[in-house]
Symmetry: D3
Subunit: 331 residues, 6 copies
C-alpha cells in the first residue's frame, strides 16, 4: 500500500576516508550522496512508498550525479531545481574504538542555500500527498532556506497533509543572523510529529526540562499541533559500540522500545534518518507501538550498511523486531 510522501532538504556529496584512515592519511575518498531529509526519502522509497524531494542542485556533473543517485533510489526528482553554483559537501572520517568520528561540513553558499522555490505552485505539489517531512537543518542553512521551509509548510498545512519535523539542532549552522528561537517555533507549529531530544527542545523551543515527558507536554502547550514527539537515546560506549533505544511521547502515554546492543558498527551516519523514516513508515502502516519498534530496528540495521542510505527491506526490519534470523547466514 503506497503512500505519497514529500520532503524538502539539501543533498550533499559525502567524501569519506577509506576504512579507518584519518583525514591526515587519506589519499582517496569514497564518494556518495546524502542529506538528512534525502536519507529519509531513500528509506521510504526503498520501502515502496512514492517519495518526492524538493531541493536544488548545481547545473554541473556533480549535480547530475546527485540526481542519478536519487533516481536510482526511486525518488521523484521533478521538484529539484538545477542552478549555477556549488554543491554542498561534507567530509567524513570514520572513528573506531575510543576515537570519535569527525565530519567537516563545506556547505555554505551552495545552490540549495540560495534556493527560494519561486515559480513553484506549492498547492499543486501537495495535491494527493499523505505526508510531508522537513528537518531543522534547512532553516539553519540560510534565511532563504528558512523562508522556503515556512512557505512549503504552509502549503502542506493548507492541503491537510500530515507533517513531521526532525528538529535536529546543529550548533555549527545558524550563521545567517537568526537564532533557532526566532525561526523554529513557527515551523514546528505546522507539524504533528516531531523528533526532538531535550537539547533540541531547549535550543529550538526554549523548553528547559530534564524530564522528557514533561518537556513534551510543554512543547504541546506551545505548539498545539504537536501530537507525537519521538527521540532516540544513544549510549556511545565507543565509536565502534553503541546502544540504542527509542521513546515516543503521545498525549496518553510514553512508549519505550527495546534497547539494542550495537558492537561492530559499520557506519553510523544516517542512523537518525533511518529512525525517522521508520517512524513515518510505521505511523502510516502500523500502530504507534509497532511504529516505534520498526523505527528503532530500522536504525539499528542502518549501522550495518556503509553510506548514508539505509538499504534494508521492510521484511528485514520486521524480522529484527521479531528477533528472527538475526545475524544468520541466509541461503
Amino acid at each position: 500500500m503506497r503512500k505519497r510522501i514529500v520532503t524538502l532538504g539539501e543533498v550533499m556529496m559525502r567524501f569519506s576516508t577509506p576504512g579507518h584512515e584519518r583525514f591526515i592519511q587519506a589519499r582517496n575518498y569514497d564518494a556518495e550522496f546524502g542529506g538528512s531529509e534525502a536519507n529519509v526519502g531513500v528509506s521510504l522509497a526503498y520501502w515502496h512508498q512514492d517519495v518526492s524531494l524538493i531541493s536544488a542542485l548545481p547545473a554541473n556533473d556533480m549535480g547530475r550525479a546527485a540526481l542519478r543517485f536519487l533516481k536510482t533510489a526511486g525518488i521523484d526528482t521533478s521538484y529539484i531545481d538545477t542552478q549555477e553554483g556549488r554543491m554542498g559537501l561534507y567530509f567524513l572520517e570514520n572513528g573506531a574504538m575510543q576515537r570519535s568520528s569527525k565530519i567537516i561540513y563545506d556547505r555554505f553558499d551552495s545552490v540549495f542555500s540560495h534556493h527560494d522555490g519561486q515559480n513553484m505552485d506549492w498547492d499543486q505539489v501537495f495535491k494527493g500527498v499523505d505526508w510531508f517531512h522537513w528537518s531543522g537543518i534547512t532553516p539553519a542553512v540560510s534565511a532563504k532556506a528558512a523562508s522556503l521551509c515556512l512557505k512549503v509548510l504552509q502549503a502542506a498545512k493548507r492541503n491537510g497533509v500530515m507533517v513531521s519535523g526532525d528538529i535536529n539542532y546543529r550548533r555549527n549552522l545558524w550563521r545567517y543572523g537568526k537564532s533557532p528561537l526566532d525561526i523554529m517555533p513557527e515551523l514546528i507549529a505546522h507539524s504533528q510529529v516531531i523528533i526532538a531530544g531535550l537539547t533540541d527542545l531547549a535550543n529550538c523551543m526554549d523548553i528547559h526540562e530534564s524530564d522528557f515527558a514533561y518537556a513534551c507536554e510543554k512543547a504541546k502547550a506551545l505548539c498545539p499541533s504537536i501530537q507525537l514527539v519521538a527521540t532516540t537515546e544513544r549510549d556511545s560506549l565507543s565509536a565502534s559500540h553503541n546502544k540504542l533505544k527509542g521513546t515516543l511521547w503521545t498525549e496518553e502515554r510514553l512508549i519505550q522500545s527495546k534497547t539494542y546492543d550495537m558492537p561492530n558498527i559499520v557506519d553510523r551516519i544516517g542512523g537518525g534518518d533511518a529512525f525517522m523514516a521508520g517512524l513515518i513508515y510505521g505511523l502510516m502502516h502500523r500502530n504507534k507501538e509497532q511504529a516505534l519498534e520498526f523505527a528503532v530496528a530500522a536504525s539499528v540495521l542502518k549501522h550495518s550498511v556503509p553510506g548514508d542510505a539505509n538499504f534494508v527491506s521492510v521484511e528485514e526490519v520486521d524480522q529484527l523486531v521479531k528477533g528472527e534470523n538475526v545475524g544468520r547466514l541466509l541461503r
Copy 2:
C-alpha cells in the same frame, strides 16, 4: 605422516561484495573458488595430507582458473573432468551486526550437475586411499550427481576406505524430483562418520528427536555403518558475533568441546567445512577427544580468514586448543 584422502564435490566461483556492502551497492566483487568438499580438501592439503578431488569443471577460462586454485592448494586434480558447459557460481553478501549474511546460488545446470563419472575406474581411484569424504550437497544437485555419489561410495566401501559424510541439508536444492529421504539413507549407510544436526537427521533420515544422543542412536539403528556423529552448535548473537562448540557422539559416550566466543568475525563461510576437515584430520592422527577439539579450534580460526578456505596450520590450531599465543603479536 601423510594420509591419502579422496573427496567428491562441486567447485564454485564465489563472488562476494567488498567490505560490508550490500548486493544493491556493490560495483565490484572479490572472486575466488569454494565448495563444501573442496574446502575440506584445501584444509587437509594445507595440513600436508594427500588429497584428490573428484569433480567436473567447464572447459573455459573460469574452469581453468578453478583448476589453478586447486593446484595452488596442493590438491591432485587428475580426477577432475573438464567439459563444455557452465561453472556453478555463488554470490555472497557479508552481513554485519544484526544484519544477516546472504548467499544467492547460481549453480543449476553446471557441468558438475551433468557429470556422470563415466569411464572412471573407481576401484583404481581408491587403491591405497585412507579416507573418502562426501556431503549431502552433491546428491541434492541433480539425479546424475546423486547417482555418481552412490557409485563412488560403493567403490570406497569395496576398497575398505573409511568414509565421512557431511549431511548438510539444503532446503533450496533438491529440485530434481527426489526428496532427501529417497536418496540420503542409502548414501549414509556407506559412511562411518557423519556430521549431522537435528534438522539434518530429520530431513535426511526422518529421525525427529530433540535429544542429540538419542537421535544418533536411532541413526545408528537405521544405518549400522555409522560409528561417529558430529555436530557443531553455533549461537548467532549477530552476524559479527557467534559462539561455537562441537559435539561428537560415539557409541560409548557424548564428547563436548570447549565453547569459543567469536566476536569480530571476518568471514564465516567455510566454518563448517573447517570443522569437518579438522575432524577428519583429528580422527586420522589423534584420539577422539583431541579430534573434536582440533575440529572446533580449526573452525574458530577459519572465521578470522577471508574466503572459503581455511589457511591455518596444524600448529596454529594446536596452539588455540592449548590456549597458547592467542591473539598475540608474533615476531
Copy 3:
C-alpha cells in the same frame, strides 16, 4: 611549549597485507614506514615538539621515500646519513579474533646496521636538547649499531640531556655474537627513564623477579641513574580485543593507570611506541600521574589508527583521559 628531542633508530619499510588477509593470500601490500624510535618521534612531532632522528637510509628511491615520510611528520632529518645499501623491511600480517598477528623482519645487512656515525660532532647534536630517546632494538641489530648507541648516549650524558630507553628485548635479534647482558647494562646506566617489563629486566639486566616494584628497585641498585621505570600490561583476549593499563615505578611509589577495554582493534603495531611518546610528552609537560594516564590513553587511541604512526592530537588524548567525547560523532 616546544621541547627539543633527539632519538636514534632504524626506519624500516613496512609491508602489510590488506584487511585480514594472510601472507599466503596477499597479492598486494600496503606500504609505509616505521620503526620503534621513529614512531616515538612522529608522535612527539605531531604534538608540536621539535624532534630530530639520528639514522641511516639507503641512497635510493626507497630511502628517499622514507625521508619524505619523516619530513611529512615534521621530523628534522639532518642527522640521517644516506649510504649505498639496502633498506630494512618488515612484513606484517594483521591477525583477527583468536588468530595472532605475525611480523617477518627482513632487516639484516641494512645500511643502518652498518652505520657508525663517524664524522658526527655529537656534542654539537645535543646542544640545547631536552631529551634523548633510544631503544634496545638498536644495540640488538649489530655490533656497529651497539657501539653507535653507546657513543650517542655518552654524548647525551655529557650534555646533561634527559635520557629514556625502551628496553624492548627482541629474542630474534642479537645475532652478532653478543648477548643483551654483555651490552645493555652499560647503556641503561646512561638513562633516567626506562620502559621495561619483567621479561626485559630478566633478559637485559639479569633481574629475575616476579614483583615489578621489587625488580625496579634491583634495577635502580644496578644502574643508579634510573629514576623511573614504566611498563604496560596488555591482556590479549584476542588479536581484536585487548585490555591495557600502565604502571610507573618511582622511588617513592608505584602509580597505576586506568585500565582500558579495547575491542575492535584496528592496528596494534606502534601501540608501545605511542605509550613511550606519551610518557615522554607527559613527563616534559605534566606531573607523573598525568604523564602515565596521558601515555596509556595515547596508546589506546593508537590502536584505532592504521599504520605505525599515532596520528592523534594532544586534545584527543586529553579528552580520552577525561572520558569526554569518547566515540561520539563530532561535527
Copy 4:
C-alpha cells in the same frame, strides 16, 4: 524535443577483470550491467529521450540491482517482468595490444530466455511511441524469446511505429534448434532501419554478396519494408587501436562517414550499440548524413568510457563531429 522509444532485450550482469588482467589472474571483478538493446536505451535516455525497456529480470538482489541501474539511467522499467530464476551473465577480459579481448557468456536458462510476455497489452505499450528497436540477439536466445520478439514487432507495426533492428548475428547463440534463416527474415520484414554487415546478411538473410550496396538492394528486394541499412567498418590494428567509419545505404545513395583513428582504446564493448543509438537519435532529429556522422562520433567516444554504457552528451558528440575541443582540457 523528446521522442518515445521502446526497446526489447536482455540485461546481463557484466563481470570484467580489472585493468588488463587475464581471467586466469583476476581476483576481483568490476560489476555492472549491460546488454545490446539496453545499451542503446541508456544512450537515448542520456540524450533526454523517453525510453522504455521490455525485458525480464530475476526476483532477487541481482535483478533488483539491474533495475536500479536502469532507473539510474532514466529508463522506464514498467514493462520489465521479475520472475524466479537466474540472471544472464557475461565475463569480460579486456585485451591490450595484439592480445584480443575475450567474452565468456553465461546467459542460458536466464529468466529472459523463459519470458513469453503473456498478459501484456502490446497495443497499449505502443500507443504514442515513435520508435521501436530490437536486435538479432533476442531471437537467438530461445524459441520463447524469438516468438516474443515477433509478437512485439507485430504490435509495433500495427501501431505505425518506426522500427530498427540490429541484426547482430552471433554464432555462439542459436542453440535451440532453429537457424537464423528460419527466424530472422520474418522479423526483418517488420523493420524500416537495419544495421547489418555482409556477414549478418549472409547468415540471417542468405544474401551472399561482397558489395554492400548490392547486398542492401537484395535485402530490400526480400524485405520491402527496409528503407535504410547501416553498418560500421572497424579496422582492428590491435585491441588498443582501431579505426572506425560508418556507411548508410539508402535507396538513393550510399553515405560514408569520416574515418576516425582510435588509439588508446579504454573499453570497446558497447561501441556498436552506441552507433545504433546515435543513428536512431540522428534519424529522429537530423538528416541522414548528419545522423550517420552523429552515430559514428557517438561510437568513437564510447571507446573512451569504461563500461557498456555511453555516458557522453549530445553536445560532446556534436563537438566531435565538428572537430571542436577534441582532447582538450575543459575548465
Copy 5:
C-alpha cells in the same frame, strides 16, 4: 647550488576520478593537492632549491593535510596562514582518446580568497631571495588576492628579486567585478620573465597580434621590465596524445625547442607548471637555450606522472634533453 625562491598562490585539494571514469560514474576519488604556483614550487624543491610558499589554508584537517603535503615536498610553509574557512577544491575527470578532460572548480570563498597578508613583513620575506614567482590565477580569484599580489610584487621589486609571472588567463575566474585589463598590466610591469601565449596577451595586456615575436615586442613596449617571454605550443591530437614544443622570446632572438611527441599521456595536469619550473631552474643554472630545452623536457616527463606534481629529477630531465635512456628499463 641552491637558490632561494618564493612563490605565492592557492593550494587546492584535487579530487580526480579513478582511471578514465566520468564524473557520473565515479564512486571514489583520488585526493591530492595542487595549484599552479605550488606545483612550480614542488618541482623546484624536488630539484634541491629552497622554496617558500605564501598562501592561506583552512584551520581544519583538510588544511593540515595540505600543509603536510607541502612539507613532504620540502617546501617551507612558514608564510602560510591558517584561518577559519573553507579549502579551495577542484574536481578532475581524466579524458581519453577524443574525449576531453574536464575540471570543475569549487574555489570561491576559500580562505585564500580572503587572505590579505596583513601583519607580514614583506621586506623580511624577500631578504636573500633570488626569485619570486606569481601567476595570473591569484589576481583573478578576488580583489583581496589581487591586492595581495601587488603588495608582494612591490616588495620583491624593492628587494631586487628576479620575478616571473605565468599570465595564465582563466575565463571562468575574474568574477569580482574587475577585468584582467584593469589589474594585470600593473602586475606584469613588476616582472622580468613572463609565460604568455597570444590569448593571454590579448586578454591581459590588450595586445592583439597573431605573430608571437611581434606581440612580445609590444608587451615589452608596454612593460619595459619584461626581458623574456616564454610559451608552449601544445598540439592536442587527442586527450591521450599531444605534441609539445616551447618558444622563448628574448630581445635578441626567438628560441625554439625540440618538438616532443606524447602519445599515452598519463596525466597532463601540471604540465604547464612543470614547464614554468623548468624554465626558472634553467634560467638560474643554465643558459637560455638550455633553459628552454630543460623546461620543455620537464613538462614532457610530467605527462607520465600521475598527480599535479612533477616528481622527476634534474638528471632525468637532462637525459631526456640528451635523448639518453628514453623509455628504457633501468636496473
Copy 6:
C-alpha cells in the same frame, strides 16, 4: 606432446607500484613472484610441458607463498630447498612515455645465494629430461651459485640433455670478486643454445664485434658446443612503445623474424624470458624458422599481460604469428 624441462634459478618477490606511480608516490605495491628462469618455466608449464625448478626459498610465509605461486603455474617444486634466511626481492616502478621503468634489486644474501645443492643426486634429477635451461644471472649472484650452476650443467651434459643458456649480463651483479670472463666461458661451453646480444658476448666471452653473425662464429670457435645463438632487437621509442624483432644464428644461416610494433605496452618485464621460453618450445616442437617466430610472438604478447609471467596460450601465439584475430573481440 609433453617434454620434460629442468631449469635453475632464483625466484624473487616482486613489488611494483600501482599504475604509473613513482616509488616516491606509492602507498601500496602489487606483489607477485618472478625471476628469469622461473618465468621461462611458467611459460613452458602453461604450454603443457613438464617443468621442474631447481632453487632455494626461505622457510617462512614468503617462501611458502612463492612455492604456491609455482604450484599454481604447474611447476614441479620437489627440487626446491627451503632454508632459514631471506627472500630475494625486487621493486619495480613502471615507466610511461619518455620516462623509463626502474628496478631496484634487493637480492643479496638471499637463501638462493647461499644454496649449494648439497645432497642432491643430480644424475637422478636429469633422468629422462629433454632440456635444461640456465641463465647468466645465477653465476652472477654468488660464488656458491656459480659453482652450483657448473655442477648442474655438468650433470645435464653427462645425461645427454639439451642445454640452453640466457647469457643475460647484468652489470650490477658480479659483486663477489669474480668477473664474468672468469666464470661464464666454462658454463657456456656446456650449452647448445644461447641467447646473447653483442654486449653479452663482449662481457661474458670477450668477443668484441659489431656484426652479430661474425660474433656468433667467434663464440662457436671458443665454445664448439654452441649450435644456435638467438637475440632480440628492441627499439625503445618510449617506455610505452617499443618495436621488437628476433634473430637466430645457425651455422648455416641467419634467420630474421617479423618486426612487431608495440605501442600501449602494459608490462615489459619478462619479455625476454617469454622469448626464451618460446624459443625452447619452438625448437622442441617446430623447425627453426617457426621457433624464432613463435618466440618473438610470445614475447610480444607478454607485453600485454601484467606481471612477470606470460599467461598466453600456444594457440594465441600461433594466431599472432599467422596474423589471425589480432586485437579482435572474441566471444
